[in-house]
Symmetry: C2
């Protein structure tokens, strides 16, 4: 994803080999790696990269809106580079596989005012759960 690197550079990011490797590992569709998985893959390209650096970089990418953080299972958070287009997630309750899915309509619109308790609602996270084809057998 060199356009990601371009955008980061344009935002004044200091480009280090560590950040480059993390950004490269986190690319593609339907990618939902944990921080430790990102670290493991980063180490293959840059053996001395520290776990803390991976956590820092992921946190920055999330703050910049370039990566979405998910906690679908109460275990380790996962990082989704497909942050440019809004989407939701479909999770297999058996094996944990995650697919990105596109919402039909604006999911925010379906919450009636009477159910908003005076909140200013700004986003909605939707996670569908079920069995993937392999696990459904």
């Amino acid at each position: 994803m060199s356009d990601l690197l371009e955008r980061l550079r344009a935002r004044g990011w200091r480009m280090t080999s560590q950040r480059r490797v993390v950004a490269e590992v986190l690319s593609g569709e339907h990618v939902h790696l944990t921080a430790d998985e990102v670290h493991a893959r980063a180490v293959e390209r840059l053996p001395e990269i520290a776990r803390a650096t991976v956590y820092n970089t992921l946190g920055e990418l999330v703050s910049l809106g370039e990566v979405v953080e998910l906690s679908t299972d109460g275990r380790a958070k996962r990082y989704d580079p497909n942050a440019r287009r809004p989407h939701q997630h479909l999770v297999c309750t058996e094996c944990g596989t995650i697919r990105d899915v596109r919402p039909a309509g604006d999911p925010l619109a379906v919450l009636p005012d009477s159910e908003r308790y005076g909140f200013t609602v700004s986003k909605v996270d939707v996670t569908y759960r079920g069995l993937c084809p392999s696990c459904a057998g």
Copy 2:
């Protein structure tokens, strides 16, 4: 919630003072306690109750479908005794306050078949996020 205790007894649960206290602590509307909060409140009534027992009991209540487990923030899981009627959650991004809200229509229905990737979709978790009246100022 004595009807909860009734149902549990009917399912063959051995009724212990620990389980009774956990079930009692977890009662009411808009209750979303962490395991440690449940433990803290349980200790007030039963000083010697162990943390592991609270975790065990919460896990059983979840398996029995009597309590819903939420991980809205990637921090500690929260336990919601309002499991009898399907509902969603509205979370304040500032202070963490959680309200139960009722869906308008069946949220499962809005996922098009073309976006199901062959999954057998059985449930959907929806979390609205925004600022509560106090935090919005």
